[in-house]
Amino acid sequence: MKTETSAVDINRNIGDFAYPEVHVRDAGAGLSEKTIHYISDVKEDPDWVREYRLRGLKTFLEKPLPTHWASKDLEAIDFDKIRYYLSPGTAAKRSWDEVPEDIKRTFERLGIPEQERKFLAGVEAQFDSEAVYSNIKKAVGEQGVIFVGSTEGLKNHPEIFRKWFGKVIPIGDNKFSALNSAVFSGGSFIYVPPGVKVKHPLQAYFRINAENFGQFERTLIIADEGSEVTYMEGCTAPKFNTTTLHSAVVELVALKGAKIQYITVQNWSANVFNLVTKRGLAHENAEVKWIDCNIGSRLTMKYPSVIMKGRKARGEVLSIALANDGQHQDTGAKMIHAADETTSNIISKSISIGKGRATYRGLVHVPKHLKNCKNNTECDALLINATSRTDTYPAITVRGTGNAVQHEASVSQVSAEQIFYMQQRGLTEAQAMSLSVNGFVNDLVRQFPMEYSVELKRLIELEMEGSVG
């Protein structure tokens, strides 16, 4: 057991605990219009949101599971057994002292309050369906930055919220965005005023504590003209024998000249279906950058996207996926070029261990009428064992002249000779494996913020320890 607390907590062992449930609000198992009304009543939704949810439900029920291209394992999700809303029934607190004791203890074990003091500009902590804590450093708040849970954002800042909500990812984008649209709760709402550059990251921590539960957070980040913000999210859940569903929708809007960097460290336990839709809209000269690390879960399906809508907009996805035994990381990136001189960059690295499976799906779209667009795609896969599996499905449609794409892919394997060589120098097999994996992701991780890369390396070590011998 590690005792030190970490910057972004992704330690599997630390995450694997659960306190008894303390929920006052419980929508019960199963999904129907009744569930929607329960959630809308509890959250005191305005009518337009209630209607939006009902449309979401309808679309969700109509759309088939995407098993014609995605994993059949999706069929293992029993939507009738899942509970769609659980909360303690109180608003998010501004001080840790006011957070209920059990919940506070959870986040203390995960090291959140300490990280907040050390290097964060603001923190939101979500426990099952709702934020239980959210706070922003005074100096940052005074610049006009808004950082609250989505429930609170909708209540207190309806004019900004409604303007952008659901505009980047429509209800019917896919079955799971429709599900999220029906039952969303929690997630962050961030607004950064024009020209404000938030120096330190804002962080949200999503914790699933309850069994047979679905977490459906909804995050909306708007960076107004010329502003800059970095957002980090961390997630954990205890190891239950039953299925847990995590199905978030994240929408980013970077207005003219703004920059958003969105960092994810996912460390789900092996019973979690993680089906997330993430998309950013980059206006003229704006930049949206996703740094996405997927570790754990039973099945992750996630393809962060950027729509480059304005001239000279930039999109970037840097991702690392680690598929351990029994896990399937189905990840990738989508870059939609919709203006001249837009550039995008995708670097994806996946590691498959044991019978783990990593799939890369990429989409790069540059229509014919555009000029001087560029895309660079690199996807590298590392196989640890002979039973490990990787697949790559790049879809690149680039038309027109003067547009340039570059695509490189590689698959490599850690050889037995390499491991023996490293063992001969004193490293255990697990240490040799994890150092090899670190070597594989090293050039990518170097581009990540410091606190984050240190933690990522530690998590990789933990994963490798668990998977060898």
């Binding site: 023996f420 001969q424 090899s436």
Partner: protein, 254 residues
């Protein structure tokens, strides 16, 4: 007894017996050269000492300072003081020499103890200088894109950094130009002393002009057929392996 000892060792790979009753003792503080024709089993012996999982020991004993090595995992052997410089060192993509050696040294420290970074780098730079290596090498990935000679030098750098009790150097001289040979020999000589035993596998008498062995052994078809002082290497060069075979106590299979 402080020695690396091999007694009546038999090793099989792919149903073929490669080492056939080999006996050898390398006391701590001595340098023993091991010579022998291609395919005689020298590298096989080295890998078996280091614990390579592909080789099967069917008979015999291998002890290091009185401890049974055959029961230990390769990394345990290494941490207890056995080092092997590989004839064909592996690449470790993306892992820099600095990070690799750091992890290797860290693995030898008691739990909870952290390697002191400044001391580490001071030592690393000192050893690199000794071996005529440019400092920029520390940030290159281990053996990735290295020339043959650079790989061999890197093996000796690791030897110098890890300070083992026994070192098996498998053809560290092959692929080295004459200046590099001198530098590497100088490096090995500077590590010689009462605390290090060396088994030096080589084809060339030339190396032994620079690293003067205490003993020379000749291995043919999986067995030591002759042992002697350093003059044996010269004699072997003159007379060839057929002569060495004739001297074997028992008939040797070819």
């Amino acid at each position: 007894m402080k020695e690396l000892s091999v007694e009546n060792l038999h090793v099989t790979i792919a149903d073929q017996e490669i080492v056939r009753g080999l006996t050898l003792r390398v006391p701590r503080g001595e340098v023993h050269a091991l010579m022998g024709p291609n395919g005689s089993g020298k590298s096989t012996l080295a890998k078996v000492l280091a614990g390579h999982p592909d080789y099967q020991v069917t008979k015999g004993k291998v002890m290091m300072d009185g401890e049974n090595l055959l029961e230990l995992e390769p990394d345990e052997r290494a941490r207890r003081g056995l080092f092997m410089a590989f004839q064909y060192p592996s690449e470790v993509p993306g892992v820099t020499i600095a990070n690799f050696l750091r992890a290797a040294i860290q693995s030898r420290l008691p739990e909870g103890e952290e390697l002191e970074a400044t001391d580490y780098y001071a030592k690393l730079y000192e050893k690199m200088e000794l071996l005529g290596m440019d400092r920029s090498f520390t940030s290159r990935a281990v053996n990735e894109g290295f020339s043959g000679g650079e790989k061999k030098r890197t093996e000796i750098l690791q030897l110098a950094m890890l300070e083992p009790k026994y070192a098996v150097l498998d053809e560290t001289d092959s692929g080295l130009d004459i200046d590099a040979l001198k530098t590497v020999a100088h490096g090995v000589n500077s590590l010689r002393g009462p605390d290090l035993g060396v088994l030096l596998i080589t084809h060339y008498q030339r190396l032994l002009n620079y690293i003067i062995p205490d003993h020379v052994h000749v291995m043919v078809a999986g067995r030591i057929v002759r042992s002697g002082r350093k003059e044996l290497a010269l004699e072997l060069e003159e007379r060839g392996y057929d002569w060495a075979r004739e001297g074997a106590a028992e008939p040797v299979l070819r």
